[in-house]
Symmetry: C2
Subunit: 264 residues, 2 copies
């Protein structure tokens, strides 16, 4: 298996309507998709007024209702799903991305770099940037604001990720262009799943910019959605057709010279 | 001094016409400029057919003819200059950027990441990514293809650079957008000085894309040139008006979590 049919899902969840949001998002996944990427906190919505409210929505993984629904869909449709949810683990609440596979297994990433008010209600991720095997592919996950730290995507690429999946609730306008840079500088596929809509449950109004996209290792946008639609976009990727060399003399990972970097 | 008048110079050198190329490039620098950034190899041209030809153009720093001309201009015009030249140092030839100050001092950066055929004729840089004091500002230098390695700009920013100067001979189309990402992810000014024109002295034709630009820490393009003009663009930057925080809760450098990065 060197080919993979990837879909990116863009939704507009209604805050707190978890079951309805799950059903709608899953309904957007095109038939034949082998790996679908959904947004950050895709089922709950984003603006929790405080940690208590967040706690009321947080769920254990894999035994919470959202994760169970994703696993059921994955098994029934032979389609893996990556999606964001608030994860309860002992006294912590993480902003987590789950990879739910058709075989019933679940892998997680806990958001390392929290954005703005998230710092007041979530605990920062504590598991680093693991990669996951998926058939012959190596997958990595990062979440939303992680995009601004090149170390996130770089850590995944150096660990072997060929496809970095990026559930998001983007507000700032810079990320879609930056993810093209992330693809080029690491020579990898990136899949950013964002939401649309506006929430105004706290002092700040948050409008989410959509523009979900699948970007190829050369920086080409393979599939995308606009800033005002819900649905999905799909691309088939093929590792066999992809040349890891940027030029006949340059490999962007092997050309690194860490002995000269000062990154502490 | 919290303000600085920066100019980026875009030229179209004729290969090998060093003296004429120097005079033309310096003529483009607007009056009142305090720091001018010129392209990589701005006076020699780019496509050396082999190392012997390169060696015939390489010069010691600061005692070579190009560096002396830049120092003379800097002193006469009270304007520092950053520019690229082939540097001879013992048996090595580096793709070097010099910072020539009005006081007669010179600082250098030797290109760490060589692009394509450069690997066959230049020696790779051996001095890392130093930063330089310039009045109250801290400056850093990188050259052209260094842009694709986020570690280059990051190393400079972590060492305190507020302005990263980037002499270039860009061929690939991705860099101008990527430098916006470099500004945002490090919250710094970036100044990319590129050339235009085409050289076809080797098997490959190289067409240089121009699009020189000065980018602000928020990703805003403060000044730029097109893909088919020579001349200069100028911006006054003011560190006092600049907020290092991206949001009330986020500083893109202090928010880094190196304990979770795997960058070796």
């Amino acid at each position: 298996m060197s080919k993979l049919i990837l879909s990116v899902v863009q939704n507009s969840p209604e805050f707190g309507q978890v079951q309805a949001n799950i059903e709608e998002a899953l309904s957007f996944i095109p038939a034949k998709t082998e790996l679908a990427v959904l947004p950050e906190l895709f089922a709950t919505g984003y603006q929790f007024v405080d940690r208590d409210e967040l706690a009321s929505f947080a769920e254990p993984v894999p035994d919470g209702p959202t994760c169970r629904a994703l696993l059921k869909f994955a098994a029934s449709n032979n389609c893996a799903i990556i999606a964001g949810l608030p994860e309860k683990s002992e006294d912590n609440i993480f902003n987590t991305s789950v990879l739910c596979k058709p075989d019933g297994s679940v892998e997680i990433y806990r958001k390392i770099h929290l954005f703005w008010a998230e710092k007041l209600i979530f605990d920062p991720g504590d598991l680093g940037f693991p990669v996951q095997k998926f058939g012959n592919f190596t997958i990595g996950m990062m979440i939303c604001f992680d995009w601004i730290f090149p170390e996130a995507t770089r850590s995944l690429a150096l660990a072997g990720a060929q496809v970095v999946c990026h559930p998001s609730n983007l507000i700032l306008p810079f990320c879609p262009a930056a993810m093209i840079t992330r693809s080029i500088e690491n020579r990898i596929y990136t899949v950013t799943a964002n939401r649309i809509g506006t929430e105004h449950r706290t002092d700040l109004s948050s409008t989410f910019i959509g523009c979900s996209q699948i970007v190829g290792p050369g920086g080409d946008i393979l599939a995308s959605l606009s800033d005002n639609e819900v649905g999905a976009a799909t691309a088939e990727i093929d590792l066999m057709t992809f040349d890891k060399m940027m030029t006949p003399q340059n490999d962007v990972l092997l050309d690194r010279r860490p002995e000269f970097y000062k990154l502490k």
